[in-house]
Each structure stands twice: as C-alpha cells, then as structure tokens.
C-alpha cells in the first residue's frame, strides 16, 4: 500500500517555497498566492495495481513512477475515462492521496458516468493519466503548528501533506468530517499523523455529531497554518474561521474542469491577486490550492463587477445576441437567464 508514505515524497527545498511568517495584519490577505509546483506534468498510461473499497469510495493504486516520484501534496491528476471508444471527452481530476514505490493512490467517489467508470477499474487495467497537476500546498515556516481539515473524500488529499509536515517536525492537528460515517475518508491515515485528531459527521453516525467547523473553531487558534480540502461551503467556513483569527489558511478547491492543464478557462473562480485586484483565476494551474482569504467564496458562480475585465463584459445594448463564447456578457447585474430569448438573428432581419 502506498498511503501516507510521505517519506517518498521529494523533499521540498526550503527556499522560496516556504512562506514568510504571518504578518498578522488583516487589511491585506494573510496568504501569498501558492507558488507553482516544481515539476511539469507528464502524460502516459498508468497501470492499476490495486483497487479496494474505502467506506463509500474506491481507492485505486496506480503504477506511474514519472508522476509518483515528483508529486507534491495538494496536487492532482487527470484521467481520461471510458476507454478508447468513450463518448466522454473530458478528463476527470482526482487528488493524489498518497505516493510511494513509483505508485500513487487516489480515492474516487463514483458519481456520474466518468467517475463511476474510474471507480470500476480493475488491477491490470491501463488508464491514461496526466499529472501531477496544479499547485501544491505551500509549507509553513519551520516549527509552525498546523491544522488539517478534510471533508468527505477531500480528506484523502491531506494524507500526503500530513506525513510531510510530521516528517519536517511540525505539530499536526486534524479534523475530518463527512455527512455520515460511510463518507468519512482517510481516517486511519490522518489519525496516524495528527494529534489532536477529531472526527465529525453531520448525522452523528461516527465521531462528534455536527460539522467540522465546531472542532475547527476550537483548534484554529493554536495553529499557525490551516490546510483544508473538501466541499466549497466547508472551505469557505474554515477559511473564514482562520482568517478571523489571523491564521493563514490554504484551501484546495474543486471547480468543474474541462482540461486540467490551464488551456480552457472553465475552472475559474474569483480570487484576490498579489496586486490586491480580483480576477477569475484558473483553479487547475493557479490552484487548486489558494490562500483561503484570497478566494471570494461568496462570489463563486457570479461575475463580481469589480473583477479585472468585468467592465468589458457589459453590452451597450440589451443583449439579444447568442450566448456564444464569443458573445459579450449581459450586464453583470442582469438576472441569470435574462438572455433566454438569445438567438442568432437572420441576415434579412425577419425577427423583430
């Protein structure tokens, strides 16, 4: 098994990738944008060497030394799904849960057709994978006590980080939560590296009843850096708790991705940049790890008018143009669905 074998992770140079101590001032964001990974991604066929159910999920282990030997905690891979005659063109992004011996593991939650196909892979099968992708979790200055917060299968993405932090001498606390016991993930792996270690479930079927935010509120003040991966509302709540107490946080977000490598612009969310201005940042190459207080969680899924370039999206005339990629945005304030009558108008102008 490969889980938690963080010792096989390439050791990070302690240079510019380690962040300066927290400034404490809350007028500017606590965290710098996460720096890029050290190694460029590669593409190739990985061989499935193990598959086992892990509560409601499936853990796959894949042989892929090119990826396993350079991956850093927080990074992800993108799998082609459905085999050579698949109607599914887009890759599925999955966080790397552990690395070791030229292998890496992932925890897959079978949802729709693509992830279900992935979860059904059997040992011996080959799968086309691109990785490692995205920016890893930046490591805290030596000695900083840390808190990890995982929700659902998001906890898997923290296992490698937990091991690495421990091996570098950090205190590691962790809170792992899920809707119910079956959707808890990586509990043993994180319990092995973290103390205190708290489990929560919304329905009380395991650990403390309730959401992760309760224990996080208790533990965050003792931490110098918070790392979180899980559903967006959880990330928003954790980042807020951390920021309110002046603790920098790093969140690994999950946005719908078409390419995973930075070329399609589908995976964006509004993020405050180093210059203090907000932009739609690509979560695949500028993330998935962002400083928690730089992500404008409340504005995700909208077009905030103060975004760089938002002004260029407004049409001088009422929008009756097709909502092509090529079409300007309706006024940012317009109701979603306001261009429902959109259609290409005919050259002869038959339509009123």
């Amino acid at each position: 098994m490969t889980e938690g074998s963080g010792t096989r992770l390439v050791q990070l140079p302690s240079g510019d990738r380690v962040l300066p101590p927290v400034p404490g001032s809350r007028t500017e964001p606590l965290g710098e944008p996460a720096p890029p990974a050290e190694h460029a991604p590669v593409q190739g066929l990985a061989v499935v060497v193990g598959s086992r159910p892990v509560s409601a999920y499936t853990e796959l282990t894949l042989e892929a030394p090119d990826i396993a030997e350079v991956a850093q905690p927080g990074q992800f891979v993108a799998f082609a799904v459905g085999g050579p005659t698949s109607a599914m063109l887009l890759r599925r992004s999955i966080a790397i849960a552990g690395v070791g011996d030229g292998r890496f593991s992932v925890v897959v939650s079978a949802r729709a057709a693509g992830s279900t196909w992935l979860a059904g892979l059997r040992p011996g099968d080959e799968v086309d994978v691109v990785g490692p992708l995205g920016r890893p979790f930046p490591l805290p200055p030596p000695g900083t006590p840390t808190l990890l917060v995982g929700g659902g299968y998001g906890a898997a993405a923290l296992v490698g980080l937990g091991g690495l932090l421990r091996s570098r001498g950090h205190e590691v606390a962790a809170v792992v939560g899920a809707g119910d016991a079956a959707r808890l993930c990586s509990v043993e792996d994180l319990a092995a590296v973290a103390a205190p270690f708290v489990v929560t479930t919304d329905d009380g079927s395991a650990g403390r009843p309730g959401r992760v935010t309760g224990p996080v509120a208790d533990l965050v003040s003792g931490a110098g850096a918070v790392y979180a991966c899980g559903p967006m509302p959880m990330l928003a709540a954790v980042a807020r708790l951390a920021t309110d107490r002046g603790v920098p946080s790093w969140v690994a977000v999950e946005e719908s991705m078409a390419c995973g490598v930075g070329v399609c612009m589908t995976c964006v969310l509004p993020v405050v940049g180093a210059d203090g201005r907000s932009r739609f940042a690509r979560s695949c190459v500028e993330g998935p790890v962002f400083a928690g207080d730089r992500v404008r969680f409340a504005d995700v899924g909208t077009l905030p008018p103060d975004l760089v370039g938002a002004d260029a999206m407004a049409l001088p005339h009422p929008p009756d143009a097709p909502a092509l990629d090529e079409a300007p945005e309706p006024e940012p304030s317009a109701e979603p669905g306001a261009d429902t009558a959109a259609h290409p108008t005919a050259p002869t102008g038959e339509t009123p």
């Binding site: 070329v263 589908t266 964006v268 969310l269 049409l315 909502a323 290409p344």
Partner: protein
C-alpha cells in the same frame, strides 16, 4: 548486431512532405491549435514541442482585458462539450507584452485570433499586431455579436462579415494573411465564405462552435451561466466536414483552415481530403494535451500509407472524380 534486411524494410515509412501554408506563408506542419483551446500555448509546453506544429492559434483577444463569464462555463455532452467562457483574456496589451514575446523567444509561431464588437475594434487590433514578433497571421473571429446591429453575430451576415474582413485586411501588416473564422449556424455558409473572400480574406477558418444548450436535470435550469454555449468536439465533425466540403467546392482557390472535432490523424485526413490546406485541433487537446503533435505524426503516416508524397497533393482530393487520379499511387 545487424538487423535483417526484411525488418528494416518493414519499418520504412514513406516520408511525406508535410509543408503547408496559411495564405502563402509556409508552415512546418499543417496542424495548428484552435483558438481558445490552447490559451496562449505556454501550458502545452510540457507536453510537446510547440515549434513542431504549424502555429499556436491564440485565444481570441479583444482591445480590453475581459473577465469572462460567470461559472459554470462548460458541460460535457456526448462526444463533445458546450462552453461559454466569454472570451476571458488579457486584452491586446497583455497579449503583446506577455504572451507573444514568450512564444517568439522560443521560436513558436503564432496565429493571432482577434475579436471585437465593432468593425473598428477589429481594425484597431489588426493594426496593433503590425510588427509583433513571431506572428504569422491573423484569424478574425467574426462569431461575435455586432453591437451596431443589435447584437447580430457578424458571421451570420455576409455584409457585416465582409466589412470586418475588409477593415482588417486594410489595417493589417500586408505580410500577415487574414483568415475569417466562420460559424456553421447559418443557412448558407457559402454565401458568407464568398463575401469574406471577395472582401480580401486570404483564407477561411471553419468551423466555430455550433450554438447549443444543456439543461441540468437537477437544477432544472440551463447548466451554463450564459444559458446557451458553443458545441465542439467530435460530435460536430460531420457538420464541419460538410462546411469545408461545400466551401471548397464553391471556392476551390480559397485556402481553408479546417477544424471541428479533429482527434486523430485520420480525422485530419478527412478535412484535408475535403479541401482544407491545414487543420486546427481544439477540444481534443482537453482530452490529450499532446494531441497536435500526435495528430501531425498520424496524418503524415496516413498520407504515406495512401501513397501521397506531399500533403499538398491530398488537399481537396475527395472532390476529384475517380478517373482524374492515377490508380495505385496518388500525387507525384
């Protein structure tokens, strides 16, 4: 150890002259990226040698930086996807300052896609590109709403299309070929193609996405923030091939940059045979980031296997009557 003769013979691949051109400018490969599907090229650098393909066709750029639309911006569809990005990008200044120099330094050639809401926007963009390093030519994305015509898409109207093309041709560096990019969402694509060619387009890029819609069965609303979006990928390939076929049949001397669902060398071959002199690979890059280089290799092999000595001999080949071509080997 010496390999036996037979095995050497077996691995011998007939070498095919893959030189192509856009509007007279030579290309080392007939395979390009497609606008909006490779950003400005950089992110594909880890996956293949960007200098080995014809050009990087850059994401359509406008005068000002654009945030793009709210998410969700895409939905997967059977053998395709729909997108509604909203032309997120740095604007022409950002392109000239950051993106083109990066490409030029590495010897990567760029074919710059421009977009606008008024005829003058396009002309201004073309003028700004004069003398920009590494720029091979200009692709004019006329699948944009024309604010002066109540948002009607330029490419839906032959006159509006012609006006943009003429303005760009006039403003652009004379050494930059100007390609007009057509939408398939028209009753008569040949009419639009002809209007663009008559207005001075050096070539035609076709096709842009088809207008589509997906409804989320859970929210019971359109998936995309922009309601409708552009359909791309292998699903649309037959429509793209039909457009290329029709336009090449009507205007055999107008160069075509063919695209729409190209995923393999044999797909690219279909476009070449239908009349495209070069091809762009779009959505397939999301599936396989090294697709442009792979498709170049597969196309070269497919041409060789079919007895073509030069790519150029295969362009439009499917239109020729069977007795126009010598049996056995094709081309010279």
């Amino acid at each position: 150890m010496t390999l036996p003769e037979l095995e050497l013979a077996e691995v011998e691949v007939p070498s095919v002259d893959m030189q192509a051109s856009v509007g007279g400018v030579p290309l080392v490969s007939p395979v390009l990226t497609a606008s909006g599907c490779s950003a400005f090229g950089r992110e594909l650098d880890p996956f293949f040698d960007l200098t080995s393909i014809g050009a990087v066709v850059t994401k359509s750029v406008q005068l000002r930086p654009r945030s793009g639309r709210a998410t969700p911006r895409m939905a997967e569809t059977p053998s395709g996807m729909i997108n509604s990005i909203g032309l997120q990008g740095p604007g022409i200044d950002g392109l000239l300052e950051d993106e083109l120099p990066w490409l030029a330094e590495r010897g990567v050639r760029s074919f710059v896609s421009i977009a606008g809401a008024r005829t003058e926007d396009f002309a201004e963009l073309a003028a700004r590109l004069r003398g920009a390093p590494g720029v091979l030519g200009i692709e004019v994305n006329i699948s944009c709403p024309n604010v002066e015509s109540r948002g009607e898409v330029f490419a839906c109207n032959p006159d509006a299309s012609a006006a943009v093309v003429a303005a760009v041709r006039e403003a652009a560096d004379p050494a930059h070929p100007v390609y007009a990019k057509l939408t398939p969402d028209v009753t008569d694509i040949v009419a639009v193609a002809r209007a663009c060619a008559d207005a001075g387009a050096n070539g035609l890029s076709m096709i842009n996405t088809l207008l589509g819609l997906v409804i989320d069965p859970d929210t019971m609303r359109p998936v995309l923030g922009g309601v409708t979006g552009g359909l791309s990928g292998p699903a649309i390939r037959p429509v793209a091939l039909r457009c290329v076929w029709q336009v090449h049949a009507a205007l055999p001397n107008v160069p075509i940059l063919g695209m729409g669902g190209i995923r393999t060398g044999l797909d690219a071959l279909q476009f070449i045979l239908a009349g495209a002199g070069a091809v762009s690979v779009g959505t397939a890059v999301f599936n396989d980031p090294s697709a442009p280089a792979r498709i170049h290799a597969e196309l070269a092999e497919a041409l060789g296997e079919r007895g073509f000595g030069r790519l150029a001999d295969a362009v439009g080949y499917a239109h020729r009557a069977p007795d126009e071509v010598p049996a056995g080997r094709h081309g010279r």
